[in-house]
C-alpha cells in the first residue's frame, strides 16, 4: 500500500510544525524520517494516521484521497512512541483488540481471531507470552507486541 502526502501544512497556535510537505512512500518500501527533535516527524505520522488534521494539504492511501476519512476507517497500523499497550489486557487480548473491534458483520469468529493472533505473535516470536500482561515484558518485547497489534489488519505502517 502506498502513501502519498501533498502540500501538508500544520500550525499549533503560532508555531509552524509542517510547511508545505509533499512526500511519496511507494508500496513495500521501508522509509525512515530523520530530523532533529520538534521538526514535525510525529506530527506528519499522526496526520497520515488521521489522529491529527492538517490545516491544508491531502493524504492519499493507496492512491485514494483519505484526507476526510476517519481514523477508524483508515486502517493504518500505528505504533506509538510509548507503545500505548492496554495495561489491563493480556498480550493476546491486546493483539486481538483490533479484530474484536470490527463491526459485527465483518468480525471474524473467535477461533479465526485466535488463529490470526497466534500467527502474529509467532511472527514477532512472542507466541509464548500470550497470557502475560504488558508490564511483565521487557521494553523490546513490548515494542514487538505493539508492532503485532498494529499489523493485525494493517495495510500500511507508521511507527514512531
Amino acid at each position: 500500500m502506498s502513501i502519498r502526502v501533498e502540500n501538508i501544512e500544520k500550525k499549533f497556535g503560532q508555531f509552524q510544525a509542517l510547511k508545505n510537505v509533499s512526500l511519496d512512500f511507494p508500496t513495500g518500501e521501508l522509509v525512515a524520517l530523520l530530523g532533529p527533535s520538534g521538526c514535525g516527524k510525529t506530527t506528519l505520522l499522526r496526520i497520515i494516521a488521521g489522529l491529527e488534521n492538517a490545516d491544508s494539504g491531502r493524504v492519499f492511501l493507496d492512491g485514494e484521497d483519505a484526507s476526510d476519512t476517519h481514523v477508524r476507517e483508515r486502517q493504518v497500523g500505528f505504533v506509538f512512541q510509548h507503545y500505548a499497550l492496554f495495561k489491563h489486557m493480556t498480550v493476546f487480548d491486546n493483539v486481538a483488540f483490533g479484530l474484536r473491534a470490527r463491526p459485527r458483520k465483518e468480525r471474524p469468529v473467535e477461533s479465526e481471531i485466535r488463529r490470526k493472533v497466534h500467527q502474529l505473535l509467532e511472527l514477532v516470536q512472542l507466541d509464548w507470552a500470550g497470557d502475560r500482561f504488558p508490564s511483565q515484558l521487557s521494553g523490546g518485547q513490548r515494542q514487538r507486541i505493539a508492532l503485532a497489534r498494529a499489523s493485525r489488519r494493517a495495510t500500511c505502517f507508521a511507527a514512531r
Binding site: 500505548a84 492496554f86 473491534a101
Partner: protein, 308 residues
C-alpha cells in the same frame, strides 16, 4: 483533600510493588536511615494522637450505646422514627451517589481529555462544596426553593415540596458530595493521558468500546474509591441537610439529625445506639475501602511478580 489521600495510596501501592521507596527500602540504607529515637518518638506521637482523638471516641460511642443492654439498643433502632431516619439516609445516598458517579465521570473526562475555555473555572467550581460551609449550602437551597425563595410561589402553585421534604435533603446531599468522584478521577485521567484511547481508535474501536474496554478499566480503582468516600459523606452529612430538612420526625429526619434530636431530649442511650449504627456504616465503608486498596496492590504486585 481526599484526592491527595488516594494519590498517596495508589502511589505507595505502585512503589511497594516495585520494592522501591517503601519504608523497608529507606531503612535498609544508611544514607536515609534515621536514628532509632526519632523513629520511636514519631511512632508514639502518631499512635497516641489517633488513639486519643479517633479511637477513644469511637469506642465510647459503642460503649454508651450498649451500656443499658441489648434491649434498649434494639428498641432504639427498631423504633419507627429511627427506622424511617435510617431509610431516608439510605435513599439519599442511593440517589446522590449514582448521580455523582455520572457527573464525576463526565467532568473528569472533560477536564482530562479536552481543552476548553473555563476549564480552570470548572475545576475550582467542583471544589466549592469542600470550601463552602455545608450550612451555607443548605441556606442556598432554602433561598432558591423555600416558600419565600425564587421558585417558592411556582413550587407552591404546582404543589411541589422541596424544602422541608425529601427532595431538599437529596439536593443538599448531592451538593456536599459533588467533589468526591470527580476529584478522584481528574488527576488519574490526566496522568494517563490519551495515548491508549488513541491506540484503540486507530485499531477501529467505536467510542463506546473505547470507553468500556480501555478508559473504564484504567480508572476502575479510582472510581470505586471515589464512590466509597462519596457514600460515606452522603450518609454522614449533617449541616446542609439540617437546614433544609425541617426535622420532621418520621418524615424528613436522616440518621445524623435523628441522633441530634435524641441527644437534645436526653435520650442518651437511644442517641448513642443510632450513632453506633451510623459509625458501623462508616466502619463498613472503611473496611471496603481497605479491601479495595488491598486488591489494587495485589493486582499490581501480581503483574510485577510474574514478570520475573
Amino acid at each position: 483533600m481526599s484526592s491527595l489521600a488516594v494519590g498517596a495510596a495508589s502511589r505507595s501501592a505502585d512503589a511497594a510493588a516495585l520494592g522501591l521507596r517503601s519504608p523497608k527500602y529507606f531503612e535498609a540504607r544508611t544514607a536515609t536511615r534515621d536514628p532509632k529515637w526519632v523513629k520511636w518518638t514519631l511512632v508514639t506521637l502518631g499512635v497516641s494522637y489517633f488513639v486519643l482523638f479517633l479511637l477513644l471516641p469511637l469506642i465510647t460511642v459503642f460503649y454508651e450505646a450498649l451500656r443499658k443492654g441489648w434491649e434498649v439498643y434494639a428498641n432504639a433502632i427498631i423504633e419507627p422514627d429511627a427506622w424511617s431516619a435510617i431509610k431516608l439516609t439510605l435513599i439519599a445516598a442511593a440517589i446522590a451517589v449514582p448521580l455523582n458517579v455520572v457527573f464525576g465521570l463526565a467532568a473528569a473526562w472533560a477536564i482530562a481529555k479536552f481543552e476548553f475555555r473555563g476549564k480552570q473555572f470548572l475545576i475550582t467550581l467542583i471544589d466549592l462544596p469542600f470550601s463552602v460551609s455545608p450550612v451555607v449550602a443548605g441556606l442556598i437551597y432554602v433561598l432558591v426553593f423555600g416558600a419565600n425563595g425564587w421558585f417558592g410561589s411556582w413550587l407552591r402553585d404546582n404543589d411541589i415540596k422541596v424544602i422541608f421534604a425529601i427532595p431538599g435533603i437529596i439536593l443538599a446531599t448531592i451538593f456536599v458530595t459533588v467533589p468526591f468522584v470527580a476529584r478522584e478521577l481528574i488527576p488519574l485521567m490526566q496522568a494517563q493521558g490519551k495515548e491508549e484511547e488513541e491506540a484503540a481508535i486507530v485499531l477501529g474501536a467505536s467510542g463506546w468500546r473505547v470507553f468500556t474496554q480501555v478508559t473504564l478499566p484504567n480508572i476502575k480503582w479510582g472510581l470505586i474509591y471515589g464512590v466509597i468516600l462519596c457514600n460515606a459523606r452522603a450518609m454522614g452529612e449533617f449541616g446542609a441537610v439540617s437546614v433544609v430538612s425541617g426535622h420532621i420526625r418520621g418524615l424528613t429526619n436522616t440518621m445524623p439529625l435523628h441522633i441530634e434530636i435524641l441527644y437534645n431530649e436526653y435520650q442518651f442511650a437511644a442517641a448513642f445506639a443510632v450513632a453506633s449504627l451510623l459509625a458501623l456504616l462508616a466502619l463498613v465503608t472503611l473496611v471496603i475501602k481497605k479491601i479495595v486498596e488491598w486488591q489494587q496492590t495485589k493486582s499490581i504486585a501480581a503483574s510485577q511478580k510474574s514478570a520475573l
